[in-house]
């Protein structure tokens, strides 16, 4: 469904991604893990063309979207839940959702809105509140809801666990699981390797802008190298707390 080939991205001479290739099949839940600064956000942003690509191609559903503008990419059926959620904090929850459906006809937006409020009841309860007043977890739900408003076939998720308490992280992942089971394709990037790999079918490991490992999520979870580099640290942090 999504095929990213030999992607190179640099920020003014500083290479952030080198020869990154990632593919996601229809209906798959794929997680890409990597530590802070590995280039995860850069990967998603360059797929969406928020950040320019230096080299490489992105094919989505057989269409070459490499050079599409962001808004065109959204129309073609991809949506991004950005890092840090980035809800419109001075707009109401409902307005945020409405903006997510900016490219969609009004009637469809109305139906979609009902659907999303059913899925995330808290967004309905707080519909008229400013999004900036929501808790981190609620904002994450809102960011997901907003992305779903464009009726995407693939959802790109950037670091959904960032800054959230473990229980809330679990809640967010459970929602993603429901979405995946309903047939939505998901490409998720995370530092929180254990959660990301637990819910995914397949995974990649990104280090210093290169893919260094890939395979079944369960195999990566059991891999000694992954344990040492990505899971070990988390376990240690848990101990220290």
């Amino acid at each position: 469904m999504l095929e990213v080939k030999s992607l190179h991205v640099s920020y003014g001479g500083v290479q952030a991604l080198t020869n990154v290739s990632v593919h996601v099949s229809k209906g798959e839940f794929v997680s890409l893990i990597g530590s802070n600064g590995a280039g995860k956000t850069t990967l998603l942003n360059s797929i969406m063309n928020i950040v320019g690509k230096q080299k490489g191609t992105a094919i989505f559903d057989g269409k070459d979207v490499t050079k599409f503008g962001t808004s065109q990419i959204v129309t073609s059926g991809m949506a991004l839940v950005p890092e840090g959620r980035r809800v419109f904090s001075n707009m109401s929850v409902l307005e945020n959702l409405e903006m997510g459906g900016f490219k969609r006809p009004a009637a469809e937006v109305k139906n979609k809105l009902e659907e999303i409020v059913k899925m995330f009841p808290v967004l309905g309860e707080r519909g008229y509140q400013m999004a900036g007043m929501l808790s981190g977890g609620e904002q994450q739900m809102l960011a997901i809801g907003r992305a779903l408003m464009s009726n995407p076939r693939i959802l790109l998720m950037d670091e959904p666990s960032m800054g959230l308490a473990p229980l809330v992280i679990k809640e967010v992942y459970e929602k993603l699981k429901v979405l995946a089971e309903s047939g939505l394709t998901i490409l998720l990037v995370e530092q929180n390797a254990s959660m990301a790999l637990k819910y995914a079918q397949r995974g990649y490991v990104l280090e210093n802008g290169r893919i260094i490992m890939q395979g079944k999520a369960s195999e990566l979870l059991g891999d000694n190298e992954v344990k040492r580099a990505y899971l070990g640290k988390e376990y240690k942090e848990k101990w220290e707390r």
Partner: protein, 287 residues
């Protein structure tokens, strides 16, 4: 009371100009020092369409503000779009250069003389508690408030108005929603020019129109925006009215030749004492 009434009249014009400053500040983070030129353009266009060509006022009005809207869009597409490195300093410099070019062009088209525009409505005085107000002044205040209200409704209720607010709030998130933020920026220049032109049209019969009106009007609108606090539409109108009233009252204590200095004293006091403006929120840093 009389001072209050005349202050409200000029103040509502400052308020409209301040709104224009705010819209562009919100979408681009810059102060558009050519904002005042659109007030002059509005006045000049109404002079040409209404006073010279004799078109019915409603048509001339639509022509003048519509013309300014298009010019605002062209302004963005030429001056802002072509600036290679869009940092704040460069963009502000470009707006200052553009304002001088617009002024010079206006001088060539319309000459150096002050041009009269006749009233659009019957002129009569209305007796109010403690003073009188002309029907003209009331029209100015009413139109300004109506336009400010209309802008508010546009931003709150319409799809494109909401997209504009989303783009103010977080341009990158707006892009991910499929909103083309650079189109929104173009539109914001059009809307700001339109607001300026409305101010220019309604004030034209009260003050003559001169090619260099834009400097003073622009700076006073800027002072009103600073006084209210940048980035806040309600505060822009309030800042405008307050500045108009201050100016008007000051005329009773200082020589009238110094009236224009009030706006600059206000800018200085605000920047020294309360840089976020009277009603401003703490600035959020843009990424």
């Amino acid at each position: 009371m009389q001072f209050l009434y005349s202050g409200l009249t000029s103040g509502s014009v400052y308020g409209l100009v301040a709104l224009g400053f705010n819209i562009i500040y919100n979408t681009t983070g810059i102060i558009n020092f050519a904002q005042g030129e659109f007030v002059m353009i509005g006045g000049m266009l109404i002079y040409t369409l209404f006073a010279v060509m004799g078109l019915p006022f409603p048509i001339a009005f639509i022509g003048a503000v519509g013309g300014a809207f298009v010019m605002g869009i062209l302004f963005e597409k030429v001056f802002i779009r072509l600036t290679k490195i869009k940092n704040e300093l460069n963009l502000i410099t470009v707006t200052i250069a553009a304002s001088i070019i617009i002024r010079d062009l206006a001088m060539h088209f319309w000459g150096r003389d002050s041009l009269p525009v006749k009233e659009f409505i019957p002129v009569f005085n209305i007796q109010l508690p403690g003073g009188v107000m002309s029907s003209q002044s009331i029209l100015v205040i009413a139109v300004s408030l109506f336009v400010a209200f209309g802008l508010n409704m546009f931003l709150k209720k319409s799809k494109y108005g909401k997209a504009m607010r989303a783009s103010f709030d977080d341009p990158i998130a707006a892009e991910t929603c499929g909103i083309n933020v650079s189109n929104i920026r173009v539109m914001s220049f059009g809307v700001a020019a339109l607001l300026g032109a409305v101010a220019g049209v309604i004030i034209a019969p009260i003050m003559f129109v001169t090619y260099d009106d834009g400097i003073m009007t622009g700076l006073k609108g800027f002072a009103a925006a600073i006084l209210g606090g940048m980035g806040n539409f309600g505060a822009a109108i309030a800042g405008g009215l307050l500045l108009g009233i201050l100016e008007s009252f000051s005329a009773s204590i200082i020589p009238s030749g110094l009236k224009d200095a009030v706006a600059f004293i206000v800018i200085l006091i605000i920047l020294f004492v309360k840089p976020d403006g009277l009603f401003g929120k703490k600035k959020v840093h843009r990424v």
